[in-house]
């Protein structure tokens, strides 16, 4: 299915958000995830199924300032 991840169109096999993170080799503890502008709780990652056309934002921690 076709989804948008961080503004870029991507073809993915689908599944839950957690499965998408695994496929992209992203550690779930390291990101905040929004699907269609809704922030997901950590426990929702494995329960939320991605649908065709979804827009996913993976927000990584960005700590620097110095």
């Amino acid at each position: 299915m076709r989804v948008t991840i961080n503004g870029k169109a991507e073809e993915i096999t689908g599944g839950t958000v957690l499965e998408v993170l695994k496929a992209k080799d992203v550690e779930p503890q390291m990101v905040a995830v929004e699907v269609n502008s809704k922030m997901l709780e950590r426990h929702e990652l494995g329960l939320t199924r991605i649908k065709d056309g979804d827009s996913i934002e993976l927000l990584f921690y960005m700590g620097g300032g110095r």
Binding site: N6, L59, G63
Partner: protein, 271 residues
């Protein structure tokens, strides 16, 4: 010292501001009366403090417990080669005063802690986050929420930068996005991962602009949206954020009711 409209020096100095309908003499006076706290006199704090000083912000507070290191100079443009070894707050104060002697500079040569955060932040109208570690970023977010002070958050790493403005109680806060700091050692710091120096200028000047807009009450602040900048691609992206009802700080059932200090993660990214 606040802006004095009948002083020729002041009118000339701020003429390019005063020309703007959004600023004018009235707005410049507001800028002159504002008290802004810059937390961290490093990569982000440097451009923030310099631009706020140039703009004529009446009082700039700077808190930092570090001394200038040679490796800072690649991006921390408020510090010069001669300043190596000098407390950053003193070095920053000297540059601010050289740029604009009418700015009052208050230096806090210490670390922001759960014990002193509310006292220090309470003395200012607005706060700018220019710190380099997560425990401090969460502490600043929480303290600004409890003290009800607008916060302009910023972050930089490698080629990526981020800005996010928070109006406590009104707009989404940092914990609406990130509930807690990442596990220690899992996120690289600039010290370990590097950062392209000019990126600090891009993000810091956006933060300074946000501060001026908030002082003036003009434009639309960067609230409820994160601005992410990818310097590799020269691409800005805006990510909509909603106030999170499950936010542990500003949500419907807050778990955080007083300031807490998260464990310092220090610099330990696994090789």
């Amino acid at each position: 010292m606040p802006f004095v409209p009948d002083s020729e020096e002041q009118v000339t100095r701020y003429s390019r501001h005063i020309l703007l309908p959004e600023v004018g003499g009235k707005g410049q006076k507001k800028i002159g009366q504002a008290r802004v706290l810059v937390i961290g006199a490093g990569g982000l704090g440097s451009p923030v403090a310099l631009y706020l000083a140039a703009a004529g912000v009446g009082t700039i507070g700077i808190i930092d417990s570090d001394v200038v290191d040679l490796s800072n100079l690649q991006r921390q443009v408020i510090h010069h080669t001669d300043d190596v070894g000098r407390p950053k707050v003193e070095s920053a104060k000297a540059k601010i005063q050289a740029l604009n002697p009418s700015v009052e500079v208050e230096t806090h040569y210490s670390r922001l802690t759960a014990d002193n955060a509310l006292d220090i932040i309470g003395g200012y109208d607005l706060v700018v986050d220019g710190v380099d570690n997560f425990p401090a970023k969460f502490l600043i977010n929480d303290a600004c929420f409890f003290a009800k002070k607008p916060l302009v958050h910023g972050g930089i790493l490698r080629f990526d930068g981020r800005v996010f403005t928070i109006l406590p109680g009104q707009s989404a806060c940092y914990r609406c996005v990130f509930k807690q700091p990442p596990p220690p050692g899992m996120v690289a710091s600039c010290q370990e991962a590097g950062v392209i120096g000019a990126l600090a200028g891009v993000i810091g000047t956006i933060q300074a602009t946000e501060v001026l807009k908030l002082i003036l009450g003009k434009g639309r602040p960067l609230t409820d949206r994160l601005l992410d900048y990818d310097a590799r691609l020269t691409r800005f992206r805006e990510i909509k954020i909603r106030k999170n009802p499950h936010c542990p700080l500003c949500g419907a059932h807050p778990e955080i009711t007083q300031l807490i200090e998260h464990e310092a993660e220090v610099c330990a990214v696994k090789p």
